[in-house]
Amino acid sequence: MLQQLANGVFAGSIYALFAIGFTLVFGILRHLNLAHAAIFTAGAFVGIEIATRTGIPIWILFPIVAAIGALAGLLLERTAFRPLAGRDDEHFAGLISSVAFGGVLIALIQARYGTEPKSFPREYFPNQLFQFAGIRVTLTQLVTLGLALALMLGLAWLVSASSLGRAMRAVAENPTAARVVGVNVDRITAGTYALSSGLGTVAGALLALNLGQTERSLGASVELVGFAVIILGGLGSLWGAMAAGVILGLAEALTIHYFDSTWKGLVAFALLFAVLVLRPRGLFGHLKVREV
């Protein structure tokens, strides 16, 4: 039982990391970026390729993966969102063009890496086991949880307390007012995508590290749960995404414990449905990015 709960927290931390990147873009720019899952998948493949080619340790690997993700985010913003800025159907058109960007990215992944799963090199990362109070925990899981927590708290600090975050919240509330005070809205927009995609690629590489391997459908497998997390937490809410990620991870773990893993997929959507009926703005719907 405790073991299941621990596993739920580890899975939940990856859901949360996926979700905060997505919800950040929505909270600040009101864009639904449906390329996020493809960016996540790309992070897994790129992480594995770099680890395989260079053998560099993970504390160097992850910053590189994040940087590549940030670049991909800039490209995504430049190609799928910026050309549409100012159009009446900007938001809907952006949703479609982001689906296209994601499709292109997945096709490129297939062209480069083929259709077979790719694995981290054997013994790339010591899969040491720890025992606490009867719970078995791997070093990978601890690193995952630690990194996810650090990134989420770091992002929350950035948005709520830094001058960059202040400008982001200004753009979130009122882009015109932000321009009036001299915020470079284009740069904040690009930066938000860079940040979001950097978090997305790290989340993908982390999940691949936990699984030991990745395949093209990695993002798709997390996407729906990730979206459930975002809705559960309230679109645009960072704290909501973090809490909802862990809640969903735990709910899945408990389902596996009490029923079996075939029911796991149902949980996210049952919870989602319940929240939409009972609390349509999400569990933390009042705590938007702009108010963090």
């Binding site: 001058s163 202040r166 400008a167 919240r169 200004a170 509330e173 009122n174 015109t176 007012a177 932000a178 321009r179 009036v180 005070v181 001299g182 915020v183 470079n184 284009d186 702009r290 108010e291």
Partner: protein, 238 residues
Amino acid sequence: MSDEDPILSVESLSVSYGRVNAVRDVSFSVPAGGMVALVGANGAGKSSVLAAVSGLTRPGKGTVRLDGRDITRWPAHRRVAAGLVLVPEGRQILGTLTVAENLRLGAHRRRAQAAPESEMYELFPVLAERRALPAGSLSGGEQQMLAIARAMISRPRVVLMDEPSMGLAPKMVDEVFKVIEEIRASDVTVVLVEQNARRALRTADTGHVLETGEIAHSGPASELLQDPKVVKAYLGVE
């Protein structure tokens, strides 16, 4: 700087929204430290002129110069950095951010020149008491003071004020005009757009009356206040 070298000049400015020409061939200039009032009826194009000067709107035609430099194509943030700052219509304060955060945003493009926050709190004591509160919780008059303080904290060279007295109680209107007098006494150049034309012309040196997007009358503000045509059409009988 002599009168021949205006700090701000607008040459043959035209602004259109779709097929509507909001501003047609408007030219005026402001000497450093001077104050110009743009007055006229609702919809005469006053706010569109300020939007083009501040960089929020791209003019269809014409040139905007700051210190003789053509800034027509500069983005808004670059103009703010150069000291050309707007106090926008409807205040546009960021209501979910605190009063202090609004001020910091106002200062962030001009860190080197900006005044310390404490100076703004001395000038606007009501903001000092509420510095940690969301700006959205302020009254309309307080929000207008914040919008002005947010512009002034950057120690701008030119302040563009768009309808600063709109929607305020008479007592707050007096307060706002008192602040405008103080600003101009501090040698900051001011362009004031107001529906309260009489009040604006009493404060300014020069006035331009806009009528359906064009300048209909120009002159020293004191003369416009006496001009029977202007009085009849825009000022009414006091």
